[in-house]
Symmetry: C2
Subunit: 202 residues, 2 copies
């Protein structure tokens, strides 16, 4: 199993580089559990989904606390057949048989409801893709059912689902969608955008 | 068939709103061929892939000409079983049987090589997802073969492929990937990021 994310942080500010550099220490608690590589487009985080999502959340919240309009984009992936197995990515959720949708939905809701708040309002939208299987929409609709009960559901949009709420349950909801839907050892990806401090927020 | 994109434009500047508003007239030539809806996270463009890609390219180039570091993100989708059929989206590439990979690769290369340059250097990365089919990596590897011959291939990264070059062939390459790979009436998505004027470009 290989899992991780290509992430990018966009502060809409003349001092965008300083906002990013000022937020990077938020990654420090996670550095020994991640492999990190940066280029001019994105930063790769390789690790277990829980660590990757927590690192993304803390980095985004640190940047958003600047008060600037900030957006984070992430391309999440697990189980891609083209990637090598990596021990740094192993977690129980990604082994074993595929449990019934209702059971996974309950596990996801329990995980989201136990998260302490981060104190940062956000809006977000994401698309879940379960690859290499027929009937892929069953998993996607099952995931949408979970999201509608998550407490951070905002609305359905074309091609994605929109969330709104505190950064902690928002990132937790996306993280649960990522590990609980699609086969445990299957190829699953997410296209995620998270926004804070937008002047056009409604 | 339903196709389009959720797009977002991120100028890394205090006057980000003015950069976006100043670029919007680039969409004018396409407005009668698109359905457009905006909220605080993204703008939906519904239309044929060629029109959607051209509109995205012109909007991005107009924003990048400001000289500010600008990034565009797009979630492209066609053929999603959850979306209604829409006559505004009909194109010949998305009907008929699936042609052999080599034939589609040649068509894609011919289309990219005929594009006039836009005069705007860019870096980009994208992931192609062909959903609801087994052996999905065959289409993805076929697409990567095309990209390596496109003239704008930069490098393979985890979870995505990176492009570099003039905005016109970069957007054309992504557009060809979108319509030529995966079954004509299948569910195909792309997670795309395009960047210009980055101070950390290498």
């Amino acid at each position: 199993m290989f899992s991780g994310a290509q992430i990018s942080l966009y502060p809409m500010s003349d001092d965008f580089a300083d906002v990013i550099l000022g937020a990077l220490s938020a990654l420090d608690p996670y550095r020994d559990q991640l492999r990190i590589e940066t280029d001019d487009i994105s930063t790769l985080l390789v690790g277990t989904p829980d660590v990757v999502m927590a690192a993304m959340r803390d980095l985004f919240v640190a940047a958003a606390k600047s008060g600037k309009h900030c957006v984070m984009h992430a391309t999440l992936s697990r189980g891609c057949p083209g990637e090598p197995d990596d021990p740094i990515c192993h977690v129980p959720e990604m082994t074993g048989p595929l449990a019934p949708l209702e059971e996974r939905r309950a596990q996801a809701l329990a995980a989201v409801s136990s998260i302490p708040l981060a104190g940062q309002p956000t809006a977000a939208q994401f698309s879940l893709y379960t690859l290499g299987i027929g009937q892929h929409m069953d998993e996607i609709y099952g995931c949408i059912d979970f999201i509608k009960s998550s407490g951070v559901f905002d609305k359905s949009k074309n091609f994605c689902t929109k969330l709104r709420g505190d950064a902690a349950p928002v990132f937790a909801t996306v993280g649960e969608a990522f590990v609980r839907f699609g086969p445990p050892q299957g190829h699953v990806t997410i296209d995620l955008t998270v926004s804070a401090n937008s002047p056009s927020a409604i």
